[in-house]
């Protein structure tokens, strides 16, 4: 089944919601997003690798999030592989607001009243 252009899957909306709520101006890495998503939803498990990175990739292709590699020195200092840091874009914030409006109970009524 083809997706409606511009529509977001639930996991994509959830990811955008997490990115909006995070205070990291520099962006946050995939594992950090998975942790934040788990905390927010009270899920028992972290989002699977495939689900998480596929959704992030789709959001990036749609320009709803942007990403960059962190400074190599930070990774060396932390003795770990480099992180890919994700940040929500202006388009992403608008898409998230739209998605929330569409899925909120009584959204149609509010739209009509407005």
């Amino acid at each position: 089944m083809r997706r409606k252009p511009g529509s977001l899957l639930p996991v994509e909306t959830a990811l955008l919601g997490v990115l909006i709520g995070l205070p990291h101006r520099e962006g946050i890495h995939g594992y950090g997003i998975a942790q934040a998503l788990q905390d927010r939803d009270g899920a028992r498990r972290l989002t699977a690798h495939g689900t998480l990175y596929k959704a992030l990739d789709r959001l990036e292709v749609g320009h709803l999030v942007e990403s960059r590699w962190e400074d190599p020195d930070a990774a060396t200092a932390g003795r770990r592989p480099r992180r890919r840091l994700y940040r929500i874009t202006g388009d992403g914030q608008r898409a998230y607001d739209r998605a929330r409006l569409e899925t909120a109970p009584g959204a149609l009524g509010r739209t009509v009243e407005a």
Binding site: H29, G30, Y31, G32, A34, R45, L46, T47, A48, H49, G50, T51, L52, Y53, K54, D57, V61, H63, R80, P81, R82, R83, R84
Partner: protein, 182 residues
């Protein structure tokens, strides 16, 4: 390295293998980091790998298809340009100026292919193709290329050079989709 980390690393290596180098390296590095962070937290879980397998495969299939579609479109552009140039040259021979339908065909081809459904940011091949067309196809079309002695075949070697130049130059430009270079 734990068995789960090894499983995740091997699986990532497997499903990213058919992809272009840049896509492949990025995904592998991301998973490597994810596993390191997870391992540091002591939360390594095989289900996180296994439950993501369908999504991994879907993502991989989408990437492979989009890479191939873009390359196929450029190849189609080159092929269509070659056929068009030969056909136009053939019809042009002996007359002072090509007929209107010949010009229509010659102009419609690149326009149609320029409007081909490349995805965003995939303009490099389009530009390279357009430049190659302008440089190698249009001069023979209008008879301005001094080296042409036999219009039926003249476009073919030039188009081969153009295609080769497209691969070499296009593959080295940022954003290119040529296999193995992205």
């Amino acid at each position: 390295m734990s068995a789960v980390t090894r499983l995740a690393t091997t699986w990532t290596w497997l499903y990213t293998s058919p992809l272009s180098q840049m896509t492949r390296d990025r995904r592998r590095a991301e998973i490597r980091n994810d596993l390191a962070e997870q391992s540091r937290d002591g939360r390594i879980d095989a289900r996180r790998v296994l439950l993501g397998v369908p999504a991994d495969l879907g993502w991989m299939a989408g990437r492979v298809v989009s890479d191939r579609v873009a390359v196929r479109l450029v190849c189609a552009f080159m092929l269509a340009s070659t056929v068009g140039a030969i056909w136009v040259n053939h019809n042009h021979r002996g007359s002072s100026s090509p007929d209107a339908h010949v010009w229509t065909f010659a102009i419609a081809l690149p326009v149609l292919l320029a409007l081909a459904p490349f995805r965003r940011r995939r303009h490099v091949e389009r530009i390279v193709s357009a430049v190659a067309y302008a440089a190698f196809v249009m001069p023979p079309l209008v008879g301005a290329w001094p080296l042409i002695t036999h219009p039926d075949v003249a476009a073919l070697p030039w188009l081969s050079v153009a295609a080769l130049a497209g691969v070499v130059v296009g593959g080295r430009l940022p954003g290119s989709l040529w296999p193995g270079t992205r």
